[in-house]
């Protein structure tokens, strides 16, 4: 059964069609790399999947919101609250059982247990990014929607995120990530959707040839990396 289905989706901004008749389905456990150059419609599609934006035409079907997680271009944490309070808040919103324990566990996972009671505004950029990862994974989501997740992450946060994504895949989570970092994306991905000017230029499995030569995907199906 399809975990995600995108059916004839169109999205207009004024007269401009940012997405044009986008169609695809993916099964549970798939890791989908959503690729395309700037302005291809990756973020628009992810925002529709996350429920942040509606479609102009067409429909999307997703699992229960309680089992999904979204990481956008920004970190989505509250600067005035402490690291522990941030995770407890999102634990409550996602109805995590035993929220105190879960928050403490995830602070350990993201190496922030020593600053649990400090307000997030006092954190360095890397610490804030790790707190955001704790926020995303605290409810152990079955569906991850990640918009350019590696952009502006430091090395430690990239390693942490890659580890968490691998773990999520091992427990059967579905991942949709949009990125410009082809090599990292194609290493993780099982499927690829390449968008070009709002339309699907390629939709199918990730092949070994793509992983070996990521730029070939763009050469063969149009667009620029």
């Amino acid at each position: 059964m399809a975990a995600v289905s995108v059916e004839n989706v169109w999205k207009y901004f004024g007269d401009y069609p940012a997405l044009r008749d986008v169609n695809f389905t993916i099964d549970a456990g798939t890791c989908l790399a959503l690729l395309g150059r700037n302005g291809a419609g990756k973020t628009t599609l992810l925002r529709i999947l996350a429920g942040l934006s509606g479609t102009s035409k067409g429909a999307v079907k997703l699992p229960d919101r309680r089992r999904t997680a979204y990481l956008g271009h920004n970190i989505g944490i509250y600067d005035e609250l402490s690291a522990l309070e941030n995770l407890k808040l999102f634990g409550r919103l996602y109805e995590v059982p035993n929220v105190k324990q879960a928050a403490a566990k995830w602070l350990e996972r993201v190496n922030l247990a020593h600053v649990a009671d400090s307000p997030a505004r006092e954190f360095s950029r890397g610490m804030r990014q790790r707190l955001a990862l704790g926020r995303v994974f605290i409810h152990e989501p079955e569906m991850l929607l990640l918009d350019e997740p590696f952009t502006s992450l430091d090395d430690q946060a990239i390693a942490l995120l890659q580890g968490l994504m691998r773990e999520a895949r091992m427990r059967g989570a579905t991942i949709i990530l949009s990125t410009h970092q082809l090599r990292e994306a194609l290493e993780l991905a099982t499927n690829v959707v390449l968008l070009r000017r709002g339309q699907i230029a390629y939709c199918g499995p990730r092949t070994k040839a793509m992983a070996d030569d990521p730029a070939a995907l763009y050469r063969d199906h149009g667009g620029e990396p």
Partner: protein, 227 residues
């Protein structure tokens, strides 16, 4: 239903906690209301009977202007770090998110009002506690109306650059019926006059206003938040 209110409460508690930490809106709204009350006390003779007649109106004007500083922050406090996107993408129903925000506004507005009223009593030489139940009813119902409409317009204007200007322009005209009721009931309560007969119509207006706009806002907020 329990889940709905639990999520609303989590949002409200977060907003109140955040505001309590920074006191950005509380401090500015509180100082604003005290300064305006002080300035008006120089303009009017505090001992005059005429001052007592428009005391209710004066008080609500101050609450309205100071209140717009509070309600403006309702959704705009979610802008740093794109927290609003995270909330909309979460399993919190938009109506629960809205109700939590409105409740947090209500609590913060009541704090401002409860600080301002004794100051008002001192500056204008008014014994304000003679009809505490009626004063509480007028404050509670009108503050809820301000919180609900203010939060809805805060959600509507959150992405506008001129939201600080737009919000009062939308908010004040919408609140006119509630304000008329609030001014009448508050003036009577402050003057220690009985509230009965025709004056009770204003109570009904306030109750109806709250019910209609709470229902309307809960129904519309989904459309307002998801673009």
């Amino acid at each position: 239903m329990i889940r709905f209110f639990r999520l609303s409460f989590a949002i409200a508690a977060k907003d109140i906690q955040s505001e309590w930490r920074t006191k950005e809106a509380l401090n500015s709204a509180c100082s604003f209301s005290i300064v305006v009350l002080l300035m008006f006390s120089f303009a009017f003779d505090p001992g005059a009977e005429s001052t007592k007649e428009f005391a209710g109106g004066l008080l609500w004007l101050v609450f309205m202007f100071a209140g717009s500083l509070i309600v403006n922050r309702s959704f705009s406090r979610e802008l740093p770090n794109d927290c609003l996107d995270v909330l909309i993408a979460s399993p919190v129903p938009p109506a629960a998110l809205f109700l939590g925000k409105a409740f947090a506004c209500f609590v913060l507005l009541m704090i401002i009002e409860l600080i301002s009223i004794p100051v008002f009593g001192i500056f204008y030489n008014i014994t304000w506690w003679r009809q505490p139940a009626w004063l509480a009813v007028a404050l509670g119902l009108t503050t809820w109306a301000m919180s609900v409409i203010g939060s809805l317009f805060s959600a509507l204007t959150v992405n506008l650059r001129l939201r600080e200007l737009m919000l009062p322009m939308l908010l004040y005209p919408m609140l006119i019926p509630a304000l008329m009721g609030a001014i009448r009931l508050t003036s009577l309560a402050l003057a220690n006059e009985p509230i009965a007969g025709e004056d009770l119509v204003w109570l009904k207006v306030l109750v109806a206003f709250d019910i209609i706009f709470t229902s309307l806002s809960l129904a519309l907020v989904d459309f307002v938040l998801v673009r």
